[in-house]
């Protein structure tokens, strides 16, 4: 039950860890394109470290950036709605709205949003698929355009997912049988294939349901809870008040009754006497 559903115009990435040579040209391209310092690029490298026995050594790496979830946790977290799901499924960040509460950084299961820690008035740093570049008519973001080995490719999301599965099926034994990003956090727009297990690459293991869903279950209940509490409290106040007044009336009334009873007794006594 995701609030934002994907459609056929959505963009997506396919990232192949078997092709990445850790040249970091994508980091430079991102830095130049988005005019950010290298230490706060919107893309970085995850890697396995060197594994295996000499001479059969292995090392895998993969570029890593915002996954552009179908139901992004950061959207649910952001106090001021600076994070939005834009056209083509791009998760955008409005730096003019951001108040710097950093809730999105904690909410993101992929630990993607970064922060300009060294700035006096810092902002969040996050991939937006080079949305301005795409708007200028370019066909792909800077990282995908720059990658010399086509480890990052960019296109329609459905095509990227199909290509990911095709690579796994047509190359038995080359990749582990898992397209990372297909189901993670309720589905994303970034798909990874890798010869090494994703936990070895340092990828977080995200559940198949976005916590944004659980969050909505609770936050959407707010008006109901508010109404119920306000009505409940009013009814308790009025009930007790009513009860207190009734007791008061009863106390006064019963004095009357006692008087009446006394009167009747005198009357009965008078009649008997007569």
């Amino acid at each position: 039950m995701s609030e934002t559903t994907s459609n056929e115009n959505d963009y997506g990435f396919l990232i192949d860890a078997s092709r990445c040579i850790d040249c970091r040209a994508c980091l430079v391209a991102c830095s130049v394109q988005n005019e950010t310092p290298m230490e706060t690029t919107r893309i970085w490298i995850k890697e396995t470290g060197v594994t295996g026995q000499f001479p059969d050594l292995e090392r895998y790496s993969a570029p890593y950036h915002c996954m552009h979830c179908e139901d992004p946790s950061c959207l649910s977290a952001c106090t001021v709605g600076a994070l939005q799901k834009g056209e083509n499924g791009i998760v955008t960040y409005d730096q003019d709205r951001c108040i710097g509460c950093r809730y999105c950084m904690y909410a993101c299961p992929f630990q993607v949003p970064n922060y300009e820690w060294k700035q006096q008035l810092p902002l969040i740093v996050k991939c937006d698929m080079c949305i301005s570049r795409l708007g200028e008519g370019e066909s792909e973001p800077a990282c995908a355009a720059t990658c010399p080995t086509d480890a990052i490719i960019f296109g329609r999301k459905s095509e990227m997912l199909a290509e990911a599965h095709r690579r796994i099926e047509e190359n038995p034994g080359k990749y582990i049988d898992h397209v990372y990003g297909e189901h993670e956090n309720g589905g994303t727009a970034t798909f990874y294939v890798s010869p090494a297990p994703f936990e070895d690459l340092g990828f977080p293991s995200a559940g198949e349901m976005s916590p944004a869903y659980s969050n909505r279950l609770v936050t959407h209940g707010t008006p109901t809870v508010a109404g119920a509490v306000a009505v409940g409290l009013s009814s308790i106040y009025l009930t007790i008040k009513h009860h207190e007044e009734a007791m008061e009336a009863l106390k006064n009334g019963s004095t009357h009754e006692a008087d009446n009873a006394a009167d009747e007794e005198t009357q009965v006594a008078a009649q008997e006497a007569a």
Partner: protein, 392 residues
């Protein structure tokens, strides 16, 4: 003339005020530097731990300040008028508590220059958005609830009648807002579930936070009665303190059943014994904050003892603080082995704000009729009768 009067007045204050003022001023200087220099230069916050001790402080302080709404509900909604003498001191404590939280939240905003954006850019799905609004509105209501004390000896005392006319609707609005934000502070961690330890994560987090804030709020009133007995020489009648203490085991009992029941339902009960240091933290939290206070406040003789009720209240509050720190800091899953400990400036700002809070409370208690309905402590007096209400 006026200035001379003020200077004389300041000179007449005791040395405690001066000490607090110096600590507060030092803290505020660090705070000013933090606002100028940015978060990276002044805190140990990082990408792996974007929130730190400030958020844990906020969560604990809001829970403590729950006394104001708990008491208002008991006195005005449930008609427990005997508790009325506690209202003013508690409402002021709540207001000062929320003000400290607002100050620290301001420190925590990277773009503090845009703090007002939550007013104009709503995100109805965000727990933090809801918390911000509720805290703002509720602080206003606390000022309203406190205003009779501020107006009483002033030339505007005629306004008190107008204020009191609307007390009940305002209290109901205040309790509703408190229910919302006390629970929403728990909701904060729902969307963060991948980072929260399963012993603490639950869809019931909002309920846990709400119930524990009720207990913490009552504990503040109970403990505060003994503290003001010592500090301000004014306090609540002993039977009222005991009456408040009577509620605590019931509230904590519900809390304990829900906490353990939730673990049982989600099949996580085994984590109580298999999560190493996390198990220890969880069990410590429940023993200090729940089991011990249930036992202490269940014993009538202890409920009526000033020292014992203070000890019991401190256990409740200690448990709530540990719970909030556990949820928001101690048990947050580290990323890439990175951990967090606050910088000296983060701690200095907290101490400064705390000193400011105590100073503000003491000054208001000094100049305004806060404890009018409470009983004056006369230690020499052997006549028990003199402890009777001075107000009403």
């Amino acid at each position: 003339m006026m200035i001379k009067k003020i200077i004389d007045e300041i000179k007449s204050l005791s040395v405690g005020y001066y000490i607090l003022a110096v600590i507060a001023a030092a803290g505020m200087s660090v705070a000013a530097y933090r606002l100028y220099a940015g978060l990276g230069a002044t805190t140990n916050l990082s990408k792996a731990f974007p929130w730190g001790i400030w958020i844990s402080f906020d969560l604990s302080t809001v829970a403590f300040s729950g006394g104001a709404f708990t008491l208002a509900a008991l006195v005005y909604v449930f008609h427990l008028h005997d508790l009325h003498p506690a209202v003013r001191p508690t409402v002021l404590a709540g207001l000062i508590g929320y003000s400290s939280v607002l100050l620290i939240l301001f420190m925590d905003l990277g773009r503090w220059d845009r703090f007002y954006h939550f007013l104009i850019y709503p995100n109805l799905n965000s727990a933090l958005f809801e918390v911000s609004w509720c805290i703002m509105l509720y602080s206003t209501i606390l000022v309203y609830e406190l205003s009779p004390a501020l107006l009483e000896n002033s030339r505007w005392s005629g306004l008190i009648k107008v204020v009191e006319k609307w007390t009940i609707p305002m209290v109901i609005a205040g309790v509703t807002l408190s229910t919302l934000h006390q629970s929403s502070l728990g909701t904060l961690f729902v969307v963060m579930s991948p980072r929260v330890h399963p012993l603490w994560y639950s869809m019931l987090l909002p309920v846990f936070f709400l119930i524990s804030s009720l207990a913490a709020g009552l504990a503040m009133v109970v403990g505060g009665a003994t503290l003001s007995y010592w500090i301000f020489k004014r306090t609540l009648p002993e039977n009222i303190v005991a009456e408040l203490g009577w509620f605590i085991p019931w509230i904590l009992g519900v809390y304990l059943v829900l906490k353990l029941g939730e673990l049982e339902i989600t099949d996580e009960l085994h984590l109580l014994f298999t999560s190493g240091v996390y198990s220890a933290l969880f069990i410590t939290e429940l023993i200090i904050g729940v089991v011990i206070p249930i036992v202490l406040f269940s014993i009538k003789r202890l409920r009526h003892s000033r020292v014992a009720s203070l000890v019991g209240a401190l256990f409740v509050l200690g448990g709530v603080v540990l719970n909030r720190f556990n949820t928001s800091w101690f048990t947050i899953k580290p990323v890439a082995g990175q951990t967090y400990a606050p910088s000296w400036m983060e701690v200095a700002i907290l101490i400064g704000v705390a000193a400011t809070a105590v100073l503000a409370y003491s000054l208001i208690a000094h100049y305004f009729p806060l404890f009018e309905e409470t009983v004056r402590v006369k230690r020499q007096s052997k006549v028990r009768r003199e402890l009777a209400h001075t107000g009403d």
